[in-house]
Symmetry: C3
């Protein structure tokens, strides 16, 4: 964490491609970034979601990053910037930086098999267990109570937070972060029915996690029965995400918490799955698809679409059908009225007939 | 576990505010509490859910707590009491008490940084790892394979079951219980899009868990990006619950298993979320709201209401719309009949015309 | 892993009840089994799901197991067999076998209470903790960072993968496998309301897991409040499955990932619950029922049926109602047309009247 003046910050943002201008005191020194609600004197905040605009007048922050044209209630220094969310991200990185990990060297209280290779500057905490033929690259941090099973391979700059289990033969790229409690490479639900019981199919495939992936806490990512389960480069998962055996997830995807992907599903690049989405096995989701919370993907999805519902369909169509369901009482009333009118008309016609 | 006669138990219940009378043998000694189905001779059971009334005649329990007016099939001693569920709870506490934890002192096989402070009578198991500047209060129990990262603060009488991870800077109140495998304070899913990739936003906020909270197994509770994630005093979670960064959960809430709360959501006090409920970020749920299983909360919910469905709406309205959907085949039939009748009428009118 | 010729494999399959014939080179030696997509020269693959039929022409496998009548694109040796999925399972077992576990003996770095009994050939890894009065059978493998609490009983041939927690008094049968991060026997969500707060009910029951059960990673299976939670013999769970206190799950069931069963529910034998299914407490699901993904079981289900939806109903009926909802815009149009036609008819009748 390092102090910075608003003038310095403005220049830093400009250098990083965020055009901005300072409305107020450029000499003001900023100690931390905080929310509009929690910020104190000397801190910087931001306005991005218009939902929180009313809080600008109430914040105790000394400065905020806000879109051009945002009203200054007075007393605040404002950095006007077209993309406040991206600019505050840059400001947080500048002022706070990323977490510094403890440095354990290779702890004497870790159990590391003699056949394992550990790269330079890699830090292995107490109570880590590393089995034969594991290969770990340079500058990695392995927190306590992690287990890395035989033959697993980790690249450089990998972080495993505490209580992570890596099964045998798993392959993990460089700059991968795995949060606490996550399990990588366990057997999938692979059984063949045999005389009313389930016969276990040996799960002889592996899992491969590519570079720059970050996985949340308490996820569980299956190895493949045969071949590979793949998590593509740059993809990010939140907590409690589950991926079935043999699934292939593309690059730069984002899966929100509690998403579940069944075995052998193929998910394209830049796919966003919101919280609690479920995806059936053996299907394909196209690049850039966005699937809304709690949707259940039961068939292939085209690229670039937005989807909702269980089964997941085109978002607009889904919202219309929800709306139509809410209008069902009205429809029933119209049908009842029609029935009454038809009865009236029939009576009128009968009357005319008998008139003659 | 201590034996008690039914007379003693009746007096104990009365002292605790549960008016009751004993129908049968007050001298009978009770050794344990059990279900109607599993109870054996010498054990006490209870009838609360009327669904199980038929089992009273079949139970092998020697005594049961039941509502006034419950038929005695004979051979059973009955304690009649207006609230059998609360009374059996008191009886379980009287006869069985709560779990006694092992006493390890501060194990020599734990790794405790010299700068950490550990309160009186706190028990630290083997293979616990505690980083610098951690502060733990008195009478706590930290089970094996827990990791408590730098700067975390725990109050008095805290229990961490095995394999719990507490991230750096997390704050946990007094009388908090966290079940095995749960992760507290990991980074949330905070990224800004940058040139088709995801740029990680340092997660510099923290999580604060207030007093008297109990968290189930394998939950994952994010730290905040900025400011705090909060779990309010007295709130209870079941297993597999996930809370996103910056969410604020009120006091005395109850979240059933696999609930997911997205970032920055605000949940009021005494809110009950049933199993697998999902809550979108940046919205507000009012005090005392009850949300039914698998519901998806996509907009603010008023206090005191009951809600169901995805998107969650008023429960009565939701049940009516489900009913209406089930009646759709009938509606289609009525429309077809109307079409037929209209065609008939048109023909009749045409016939009358041509008659002239 | 052992090499085998196709002739040997064909004979082995026939012995195991899979009639087959070899179309091609019986002398060909097979080194491994793989998917059609990933297989290389010298490997065996299979065609079971017709969705992948087109890949037979493109595979680099040297041989495949396929249904009788499958076209041979040339260059492939085919083993024709009526049930290719079961046959490839047998072939994987023959060629690859099951995972071999490390042999630690009873590690000096494990903490095993003097009162615990450990069976012959059971392997206890470093950093395992075993409390008083635990009984573990023969030929078990307990991986690092597992904790087995006081009085728990494990049968023979049990495997606990890393970071598994077994709570006090849990009972686990023989040939049970529990994957990493899973928690067995924690307290359920048992509280009685008392003056606007939640009073914890001591959870004095236990959990019993019968023989031949396999549990995925990061599951959480509650002990009972009173009596037992039961997981029946031969049942298999995927990852992230949660079972509430006092639930009884039958034999040879299969629960796909993220299934949640609430307390006191009774699930019959051979029940299949697909991913993310939720089951309300205190209800009963009959033998052989199949419940589709994301369904919410809110009432008893008959044996042998197939169910879908939330609330879960008969599958055919559910699919029809989904279809009907999609047809709502069409129904609305028909109603509008009817209203128009009725107005026309009324006008015609009025005209005829005034004609007279």
């Amino acid at each position: 964490m390092s102090h910075v003046t608003l003038g310095e910050l403005s220049a830093f943002l400009a250098q990083n491609g965020f055009a901005n201008d300072v409305d107020g005191d450029s000499e003001l020194s900023i100690s931390a970034v905080n929310t509009l609600e929690d910020a104190r004197n000397g801190e910087l905040s931001f306005l991005s979601n218009p939902k929180y605009a009313a809080m600008v007048a109430r914040t105790k922050a000394s400065a905020i990053i806000a879109p051009p044209g945002t009203d200054n209630p007075g007393g605040l220094t404002m950095i006007h910037c077209g993309d406040p969310y991206a600019a505050i991200t840059a400001a947080i990185i500048r002022i706070h930086g990323y977490r510094k990990h403890p440095q354990w060297g290779v702890s004497e209280k870790a159990v590391v098999d003699a056949s394992a290779t550990i790269g330079e500057n890699t830090s292995i905490a107490p109570y880590v267990t590393i089995e034969p033929d594991v290969r770990i690259g340079a500058n990695c941090t392995i927190y306590p109570h992690c287990h890395i099973a035989a033959g697993a391979i980790l690249g450089d700059d990998v972080t495993l937070f505490p209580n992570v289990t890596i099964y045998d033969g798993s392959q993990i790229g460089s700059r991968v972060t795995i949060h606490a409690g996550t399990i990588v490479g366990q057997d999938g639900l692979g059984y063949a029915p045999l005389n009313g019981k389930w016969l276990k199919i040996p799960q002889i495939g592996r899992i491969r996690i590519e570079d720059d992936v970050e996985i949340g806490a308490n996820c569980a990512l299956d190895r493949a029965t045969l071949g590979e389960t793949v998590i593509g480069a740059g993809t990010k998962f939140s907590n409690g995400v589950v991926v079935g055996h043999g699934a292939k997830v593309g690059q730069n995807c984002m899966f929100v918490a509690q998403v579940g992907i069944a075995g052998s599903a193929k998910v394209g690049n830049h796919v966003v799955l919101a919280g609690q989405v479920g995806v059936r096995g053996h299907l394909e989701i196209g690049d850039n698809a966005k699937v809304g919370a709690q949707a259940g993907v039961g068939s292939d999805l085209e690229p670039n679409g937005e989807y909702l519902g269980s089964p997941a369909i085109d978002k607009t169509q889904y919202i219309r059908s929800i709306y139509n369901v809410q209008k069902l009482p009205k429809m029933k009333e119209r049908i009842s009225q029609l029935e009454q009118h038809v009865a009236e008309l029939r009576k009128l016609i009968d009357d005319q007939k008998s008139d003659k």
